[in-house]
Symmetry: D2
Subunit: 398 residues, 4 copies
């Protein structure tokens, strides 16, 4: 069962580390630490093997995947240089399958990165048609049993008027009429689900969250999910906030300061792009706590950190007898090492859903996202439990 | 429905703040922040009102409860001086009901604190008999509908040979034969459950964990639970560890350093007493993670902190592609402000269990303890869920 | 020897705590901890006694000093309520001497705080004249031997075109011609030094830093100093940065995040006012390190913190063999408790300088300021050494 | 001018990284970041070039220097593998000059590491004589102009009865009489200074601190210095403590917790060896602050950290009006990357002192040590200033 993986932003850090990592796992030179699907009970499901994943994708940069991986290795040690060497030819093969993508409405910084490569002068219907052709040629050429499309491109500025595309009809009319407000993420997502390919939005960009795309996915029985992979500060937040809620401790303020040094940081240094990100990171407190609290998320670009990301969170809370107390944490992670295994997990799990006739938004995948498109809770442990329950519905009783 | 609350260690910090706090809640001058039972769905249960709790207890110190509360207020601001003033006469009334307890096998430091007040020269059967009399006189005098016994005394050195008291027969024979190895916490617990009074062990001392006491509780249909209230570093640990497990991130080491300045800290500065505490704090990682990891818990006495307690935890973990990362946190809490509302919660919840015929160890109370005597998981969110489920079995469907 | 202390912003937090503190020190109910002049060798100098300081000042608020102190006490515990009680009548006497000041060019937020009280509609020459009258009436009424003027008002937006006022002539012409660009801090400072009163700029506002004011101070032999008292994050920075320099460790980035909850924080939440502050905090790294480095200072308003201020600094540095390492610190201080004793120190020390014929900018006071107007180094220990050397020139050999 | 460098513990981490680093600096493949002598004004002194250093030494392990460097590289990334490769043959040449040393009185763990290699069965006079022969053969064989002996071996348990060796006569009689209490560090130091070789004690072991060794050094006009290189937590302490002192802020408690994972950590895990270390780290606060304060230094062995060392310090202090505040820091460093450049600095600087007739203890080197054997202050900035002043006495006025 060959499963194609089409990555939007295939030459970015997360994609490069995912591809290198998948090849390294497949060849047994690295462990599966960090992959949720390598752990029981998910490891007992009939998921596509990492070895059977065939990678390709869109990008707007000319820098090769190996070059991106080497730069990431130099700036943060991930992946190790020796691992890149061991899988170099496999990764170069993926690189030869990368098509030039569009950066329409992705903001100024992304435009600069594109260096004129991006397809921006085509009409919207032509862009969609070209994307579809790229997907289908890949499926045909590699005789794939299934194709999963996954967006790991840099964060776009938020789409303002989402109501205008709330239905399939409205969206398809807008595409037809060359509506220049539509951002790249929506075009990629629409092209995927309209062709019947499962879609994952790893980013805070609009993607399949738009009403119109959701309707098309439902119509075509395609599973999809997003938004914005939960890999760092927000992951910790979703583990800690339930503690305050459960103990009836009142959070007076929750301040978060993120510093990061990779392209993601550079793009987010543009206030327009950052707007989408901060919104996404900031939503869960109110749901978990049950009340509004003073909350702020700062994201700053600190080039010296390379791929490393550090967050400092300061939580000021009140307990019994009006007593004020504090919890502070620092999280020092490698963005791509945290994200890459989740890319593989999500591909495998959405492929499983597709194979089993699950369609539409996939709530069992909520634990992977900062802003899950369908969910019962932001409580991380409860989200994990939901995923375990999903697995158990497909596993024989033991 | 008047519910008696008999506190072992009634003049200690936790007891004093619990009593002051209960009176302040009852008179409406403080909020119920920090009380789990003040939050839905528990607040919908038919629990004894805080106003209907009648306090008394044992202690070995001559310092009054008000004096303890004032010292705590001076050293850490909890409870506020104005709150103490407002409830002073109520608290003095409680003080008049305190009986001199025993500090047998509680270690040198506790012995020093007792200043000769403790009942140490009596035989074990006489001690048990005196404790029973204290319980029953209190019930009779105040015409109580129910008595809950709760241990908030300083941590004892661990009882070595617990196997020798694994059955009710063995334990009762040992008491009869004046076995001088039996520590105070066991005598108090045995006296409680043998008289049919629900018992809560808020400390890491042996208490009702002993096989013999458990058997007596079962025999008498008495609910009880322990050990060691989860109020600080371990609480955070039980919220964070499931994140590493669920994401298949490998914890390489988890180092914890606690500094605290109250009597608890002073007692724990004695290595013998500390042994019981560290053992209790250190158990949950392996269960949650599913493997053994390098783990250490340091507890140091820093008098300048007064009632404040600060923990620094350093978690070194490995992710995808062998990437090493870190999470560090500092927790700055007031020990008694965190513990006191849980005392009230546990009294109310174990009284509810008793009223509803639940007996033996109470697993739905696992979230309150570092070393729950019965539990399914140390995962804090799952433990909260278990408590919610318990509540829902007693609530009408909505 | 009665020394008058005229505070610009006399009803703000720092002023209120300074006044309460001075009265408390004078009456012996608090210690001098935090006062540099209470420590050898400065304590051996012939400084005005705290008891001999007579306070007055300008403000634009109607809230009294006692009210400010009580609000500060409620929100952060400083000063203790009992201390306020003990000195209440003394402080009320000060309050009766407060005159309405001007908030010209102090920004929108300060304008809002003024609630229409500030003198904004007068011409600039009239404002200066009124300020002078206020100073002189105070001196006359209280038969003062010396008057020190000290600015503790909220930070103004920076004055753009400082070159236009580089000389005494230019400045005085501008005042004469009702130049509406001149900010309040300059008017207060000019009025002080032109009347021969020593002046201290505790804030980042322009004050006596302007060329024209400096020239008037030199002409009149008046000592003065500023800018921006070094009380928190920058203090720590100036202690730590020399370590990196001296060990030839390369600072790759120095990120600072400040959260604070008092009026200072509220005013700084306005980007215009913040500009002055951030500029001032950020200057010392390059001087100490000897090269430019990535550096950022965030200041965010977190009301829940009250008068408390927390800074997180993350220092990423490179050592031998290209090894990357990190130092992080958190500083949790009370802004006014840190600032108030320095107000008393600076008054006493600039009065001493004046009494001893020292005039112009006072470099021995550099350790007190983030942006000292004259200095040899930002290295805190070296700055302390300079102050000790100043003291020793006035002390008999021992 | 060829300068020999004889390292006691030449196959340990610090030595290996020093040797690899020196070769890398000499061949221009790494920068001199971290070397104090690479910075003005020291870089203007006539110091031996790094290129002219010839390394040799004693050790008790059979593991080669390259193997140690490779293990350090694998566990903490220092030195980079590519650097080791580039200088491998040079380092192997050093390895061929390593002689088997003694581990007498170095404690159990060091004995275990020795695996029977150490010379323990010889008499003390024979050990001293053998060490001398090793020094002199090296000088002769390589035609060295000067030999510097530097101790970087693991920390010994402290020597109890130091008074018994307070004079040269007493020490020499003890050696003669085969006094089995003398530890290895004293024998190495005595052999060095008695032969006229400058000596540096990079460790907390006794070494040249003993009265008898000091006297021999003075008699022979030999410069020497120690003890215990200041590379991490204590370095930061000596930068921060002067801030509290200078501002008259009262330190209520200073708690330090160090976790580290290299051989140093393993050896310090033995309480006997740790005793020497903790004593050395803990001395400076009282001198800088001018009063005794609650202070504790914990050192724990956390193997997962490899060569990385993390310290958490919690400083609780009191300011004006009794206000309690806090400073906390975490220091995440590579022990050997911090220590190695100081090894090179100290060799160069003590060789300079020797060349210029400076003899006995060298106070200008105080900034390098936790427990400087002669010093005016522990204040880091003041110590740096002392070193600059030393340099300026040898530099032409500019």
């Amino acid at each position: 069962m060959k499963t194609g993986v089409w990555l939007i932003g295939a030459r970015g850090n997360v994609a490069a580390v995912s591809i290198v990592g998948a090849k390294a796992v497949a060849s047994g030179i690295t462990e599966t630490t960090g992959m949720v699907t390598a752990r029981e009970p998910l490891s007992d499901l009939a998921l596509p093997e990492v070895d059977d994943l065939v990678f390709a994708g869109h990008d707007i940069r000319s820098q090769s995947i190996v070059e991106t991986a080497e730069a990431a290795s130099a700036s943060g040690g991930v992946p190790p240089q020796s691992t890149i060497e061991a899988v170099r030819s496999d990764v170069e093969a993926v690189d030869s399958r990368i098509k030039t993508g569009t950066a329409i409405n992705c903001g100024q910084v992304v435009g600069d990165i594109a260096e004129g490569n991006a397809a921006v002068n085509q009409t919207v219907p032509d862009l969609v048609s070209a994307i579809r052709d790229d997907y289908e040629s890949f499926v045909a050429e590699h005789d794939l049993d299934r194709l999963v499309v996954l967006n790991v491109a840099s964060t776009e500025p938020p789409l303002e008027n989402t109501d205008a595309y709330a239905t399939a009809d409205e969206l398809e009319a807008a595409i037809e009429n060359d509506d220049r407000a539509l951002p790249a993420s929506v075009l990629y997502a629409y092209a995927a689900v309209s062709e019947g390919h499962p879609y994952i939005n790893f980013t805070p960009s609009t993607g399949s969250d738009l009403g119109g795309v959701r309707e098309v996915a439902r119509r075509n029985d395609v599973p999809h999910m997003g938004q914005d992979a939960k890999t760092g500060e927000t992951l910790v937040k979703s583990a800690l906030a339930p503690m305050f809620a459960g103990r009836n401790l009142r959070v007076l303020s929750w301040e978060g300061h993120n510093i990061l040094g990779n392209t993601d940081g550079l793009v987010l240094d543009d206030e327009a792009n950052k707007a989408g990100k901060v919104k996404s990171k900031d939503g869960l407190l109110e749901e978990i706590l049950g009340y509004e609290t003073q909350s702020r998320v700062r994201i700053d670009y600190t080039p010296s950190l390379g791929d490393r990301k550090t967050a400092w969170d300061h939580i000021h809370f009140k307990g019994f007898l009006g007593t004020e107390m504090k919890l502070q944490f620092t999280w020092e992670g490698s963005d791509s090492a945290l994200a890459a295994p989740l890319v593989l997990d999500l591909v495998r799990l959405v492929a499983h859903a597709d194979a089993n006739g699950e369609s539409g938004v996939q709530p069992q995948l909520a634990s992977f996202f900062k802003s899950p498109m369908a969910y019962e809770t932001h409580d991380l442990s409860q989200q994990f439990e939901q995923l375990r329950e999903y697995a158990h519905t497909y596993l024989p009783e033991t």
